[in-house]
């Protein structure tokens, strides 16, 4: 079926430019993919969460300055790719829940607790999912870097690095190659945190985004890095190609 969208921003389908007009009327989908890449790397005493700032639909860029990383609590960062309206709604909801947690328990929510809450929130919408691909990054109760990576319906895992979104396929193998550490099953236990220093990790992340931006049309414009360590959270920005 050929599709055509009166609003012109959803479901752009180049094939409808050519013949074979069996049917031409507007359809819609409750979902869109707004592209973008998000990633996070955990170290022994730091964690870095980064995302590009491009928001696109089909072949058009809607804005070049859309921040995908949010500070949910002093110890928790969350980044989402996928459908931005779902991601924005999800983050709004969770921010409210984080405030409630703070009121009920007299302390800001930790990243491990937040991770579980996000999973439950996603799973509750199992049959009309939030089309958002999330990464949670933070420092755990011991002050160690933690990264949690999700699918759209709430399945999650604690890892020490992860990447989601349109540049995932380009970046993930690089991270595997550079950061893969000893299996958690090996005895005696070896720290699963990446062996890199904070500066080295920042460089790696910047390289990853610059690289993904070369081939992935949905990744570009700028990359924002949120670096969390015992001193707090700081933000770095690096421009990317705008093509």
């Amino acid at each position: 079926m050929e599709t055509y969208d009166a609003v012109g921003e959803n479901n752009f389908n180049p094939s409808s430019y050519h013949g074979n007009h069996t049917k031409q009327h507007a359809t819609w989908s409750p979902y869109d993919n707004n592209g973008g890449t998000v990633m996070a790397v955990a170290g022994e005493d730091y964690v870095i969460c980064a995302a590009d700032t491009r928001m696109s639909t089909g072949y058009s860029i809607m804005t070049r300055q859309y921040t995908k990383v949010d500070e949910m609590s002093p110890k928790t960062l969350m980044a989402s790719a996928g459908f931005m309206a779902d991601a924005a709604t999800l983050k709004k909801l969770l921010k409210g829940r984080c405030d409630q947690y703070q009121f009920a328990n007299n302390k800001p929510i930790g990243c491990v607790a937040f991770a579980q809450m996000l999973s439950n929130t996603l799973y509750m919408r199992r049959f009309f999912p939030y089309y958002a691909f999330n990464i949670v990054a933070g420092l755990d109760a011991e002050g160690k870097g933690a990264v949690f990576t999700y699918d759209a319906v709430g399945s999650y895992e604690r890892t020490n690095y992860s990447c989601q979104g349109s540049g995932q396929q380009l970046i993930m193998p690089v991270l595997d190659n550079q950061l893969k550490t000893v299996s958690p099953l090996v005895l005696p236990a070896v720290s699963s945190a990446t062996p890199l220093s904070e500066e080295e990790a920042i460089d790696l992340i910047k390289d990853c985004f610059a690289t993904a931006g070369e081939r992935d049309i949905y990744t570009g414009d700028a990359v924002e890095l949120f670096v969390m360590n015992k001193d707090g959270i700081r933000k770095e920005t690096m421009p990317l190609k705008t093509d």
């Binding site: 009920a104 328990n105 007299n106 491990v112 579980q116």
Partner: protein, 246 residues
């Protein structure tokens, strides 16, 4: 104490002109009729001890539990109407499990006590599920919080929750009929650097002093809340403590 008693002690939601809620005060009085319960917290764990009133030799002492587990990191000793305590403990259990389900972490002890306080205060409302009167029970809630770097929390904490919905953090506290005497001796003897064993002995000798009957393995219950697990003592262990306190 209640010289000014008047019409104002009927309704649970009416203040007297002096600003008192009599039904709540009576509920607090009801606890003074209950069996003695006490708790002592140390750096290494919290000891809970209760008196059990065995009024007939035909009663099965093990069927009387006044020490209850709320979660694996949290337990309580109660005095007053134990049936009311069951309702509160059940509520605490649900809240604690719910917290674990949502946040994948044990519920902070203070938050847990706060939910019990909220329940204690929710009397006098409409509907079938709402209590028509205050709970006639006080709880000594002992719990363990995991350490959290960056937030100054962690370690053992003991709370006293009463029918007015007030919670007080304590280092050692006694409730029930013998509470006055027991509290005096706890106040005198408590030290910050108590070992768990010393606390056990102190709990036993305090109980012994305020109980009308002679202590034995049947008429007292002992438990310790010690990470990672809450543990109720068996008869053998209780006898050891009795011998030590002798």
């Amino acid at each position: 104490m209640f010289q000014t008693r008047s019409e104002y002690d009927r309704g649970v939601n009416t203040f007297s002109p002096e600003g008192r809620l009599f039904q709540v005060e009576y509920a607090i009085e009801a606890i003074k009729l209950g069996s003695t319960a006490l708790a002592i917290s140390t750096k290494h764990g919290i000891v809970l001890a209760v008196e059990k009133r065995i009024t007939s030799p035909l009663m099965e002492p093990s069927s009387m539990d006044k020490i209850m587990e709320i979660d694996s990191h949290c337990a309580c000793a109660v005095s007053g109407l134990t049936a009311d305590a069951k309702t509160m403990v059940e509520h605490g259990r649900v809240e604690s499990q719910n917290h674990y389900f949502t946040f994948n972490e044990p519920m902070p002890v203070e938050s847990l006590c706060q939910t019990l306080c909220r329940l204690a205060m929710s009397f006098g409302g409409e509907g079938e599920k709402s209590m028509s009167r205050p709970f006639g029970v006080a709880l000594l809630v002992a719990g363990f919080d995991e350490e959290d770097k960056g937030n100054d929390v962690g370690g053992y904490t003991l709370y006293h929750v009463d029918p007015s919905g007030t919670k007080t953090k304590c280092r050692a506290k006694s409730i029930g009929s013998g509470s006055e005497g027991a509290q005096t001796s706890l106040n005198e003897e408590y030290r910050e650097d108590l070992t768990l064993e010393e606390a056990e002995t102190m709990a036993m000798s305090t109980l012994k002093a305020v109980m009308e009957e002679k202590v034995n393995v049947k008429n007292v219950d002992f438990a310790v809340l010690k990470s990672p697990k809450f543990q109720v003592y068996d008869a053998k262990k209780i006898q050891e403590i009795i011998d030590r306190a002798a």
